[in-house]
Amino acid sequence: MSDFFTEAVLIATVAAGIRLAVPLLFASLGEMFGQRSGVLNLGVDGVMLLGAFGGYYAVLKSGNVWLGLLVGVGVGIVFGLITAVMSVTLKAEQGISGIGIYLFGLGFSDLLFQKWVGTPLPIKAFPKIEIPVLADIPILGEMLFRHSAVVYIAFAAVPVSMFIINRTNFGMKIRAVGENPEAADSLGVSVTKIRYATLIIGGTLAGVAGAALAIDLKIFQQNLTNAAGFIAIALVYFGAWRPLGVMGGALLYGFVNSIVLQLKTLGIIPRSWSDIAAMAPAIVTILALVIVAQRFKPPTALTKPFERGR
């Protein structure tokens, strides 16, 4: 066990936990917006995969990682819009329509990869940015302030989301629509418009999450996300629909994974326990859901399509 508490290993474990949290953080922040307005989007993982392929392909062809991220945004907007049409306009059953988007994204991203790329070729990664001064702090600097650019973007999105949800007129409307759409409607807030907006934000962030993952790994492969999108949805509940809570959940999930991995590498967790250890994050999440459900209530209108006059 003492092997674990060496400087190099501790730094690597914390840095790995942060990296693993980034795609989850983007995706769950996006999902949070949708859920605050009353729409559950189960298709996150599908959009992430499509964004991942889009981002990967753009970087492969252009060599520009920011263009890759931008393509992720574009893919996200398109599928956010499709999600909105399904969930808001067509009032499709939210628990199920997302599964369709997921299956489509899983198949279609791989299909495009096979058609346009074929063999997995590596691409450029995000530039590493060392925050001046902070990066020079011993240990902490290496853990927190020597990451690739996209990591800072992800964490910067947290206060931005807090500000939007809590301090802006738009955020107030989102909350109103999620809690009491009838009242919001009677006050002249367009439930439809607000939900379209939040779902497009959610799609965008899911697309970015996928693109960030692919560019960070410098590769695309079938099912690259390995169902991270579903974890992201659970983290929204875990974080009690608040940006800080979501961030805490993403970090916790990242750290649990990186610690388990590091313990396996050091031989502290024996190999025969691998499958059992792999159950840990899911079970921890279920327990966390139980605790959160005792203290916080989801947006009242969550999963309920809005029908005027009912």
């Binding site: 730094i11 690259l224 390995n226 590498t265 691998s274």
Partner: protein
């Protein structure tokens, strides 16, 4: 009463779809021989029941059923490349059903290809064996090949093939130990089964033979496909001082990226992975299944449909250590690898597998 209408509507709509589909193919000449379905029933007059008389000896028809994508730079691609290579010398038609990780669907595909009269059906996945043992007896005229496996179930129309990946693994281990400065050499494994386990065990044995004091942490991520986890496993190895890494299965593309980033040497297996990171990939153990496939094809053409187990190894040229031309290995290190290869071939070196 109303329910009757509903049923009627459903049937009607279904019939319309059916008619629309059926109507199109009248004009269509029977293209794509692979498209022919089996034994057309009496109701379907459009499909020509051509399968019985088809498949004369000239064109040899091969079907591959495999669990991952055909361009995965790993398990599936190694077989697709091999069959393609053999088709250079034999008049051959190749059908591929890849990505068939659903075992039941794979079984249906194996049965269907056999039913269509393919000469050789390759079930390229050890998890397909349980189904194959039930299917093969139903098609005594079709030859099946199954791998990686070492069992033909005593059936006269099943071949089995496997790779002695511990041999190549051992050689790579010797190379890795000779090139490592730190003495810590990490392994990024998928799941501790089959081919991956053989390779990893051989690799570890090779490292320890060259440097008994070396530290070889082996991590199985628990997944064949989780690229992010493989990548972080490589990072974890790096943090504990590993300066050489290896790994198996299609998810290692993530780990190779990490190796390249940190200047850590990489050894690949199943396919040549040099193109993924030309600056750090030292060598790859490459499978040349064509050594096996060409023999099987010749035997099937001669009328022997199965009953034999093939192994590719260093001796028969089915396993080849391909060095990356972009990375120059010192001559004395290459000599050590060559000595290991020679020792394995003449039996004086045990890979511990």
């Amino acid at each position: 009463m109303r329910r009757k209408y509903a049923w009627f509507a459903l049937l009607l709509a279904f019939a319309l779809v059916a008619a629309a589909c059926g109507g199109d193919d009248d004009a269509e000449t029977t293209a794509a021989p692979a498209a022919e379905t089996t034994a057309a029933p009496a109701t379907d007059t459009t499909a020509a029941p051509a399968t019985d008389t088809e498949a004369p000896m000239e064109t040899f028809r091969v079907a591959i059923i495999a669990p991952s994508a055909q361009n995965d730079l790993a398990f599936t691609q190694s077989m697709v490349d091999a069959v393609t290579a053999v088709s250079g010398s034999v008049d051959m038609e190749i059908a591929i059903t890849d990505g068939t990780f659903i075992v039941d669907d794979a079984a249906a595909a194996i049965r269907d290809y056999a039913d269509q009269g393919y000469d050789l059906v390759i079930a390229h996945g050890s998890q397909y064996g349980g189904s194959l043992v039930e299917i093969a007896p139903d098609f005594p005229d079709v030859s099946f090949a199954w791998g990686t496996a070492a069992d033909t179930f005593g059936l006269p129309n099943v071949y089995a093939y496997e790779a002695a990946s511990d041999e190549g693994g051992y050689v790579m281990g010797v190379l890795a130990a000779a090139l490592s400065q730190s003495g810590t050499i990490g392994v990024v494994g998928p799941v501790e089964v089959g081919d991956a386990k053989l390779y990893v065990d051989g690799f570890a044995a090779g490292v320890l033979a060259e440097n008994p004091a070396a530290n070889v942490p082996i991590v199985y991520t628990g997944s064949f496909s989780d690229v992010a986890l493989a990548s972080e496993t490589a990072q974890a190895h790096a943090s504990t001082g590993a300066d050489v890494l290896t790994g198996s299965a299609q998810m290692v593309v993530g780990a190779i990226g990490v190796a390249a980033e940190n200047g850590i040497l990489w050894f690949g297996t199943q396919a040549n992975q040099a193109q993924l990171a030309p600056e750090v990939v030292v060598a790859s153990q490459v499978y040349h299944w064509e050594v096996v496939i060409s023999q099987i094809v010749a035997k099937v053409q001669a009328g022997t449909l199965g009953g034999e187990i093939f192994v590719i190894d260093l001796a028969n040229g089915g396993e080849v250590i391909e060095y990356n031309p972009g990375y120059s290995v010192p001559a004395d290190v290459v000599a050590k690898a060559d000595a290991a290869i020679a020792g394995i071939i003449d039996g004086s070196v045990s890979t511990g597998g």
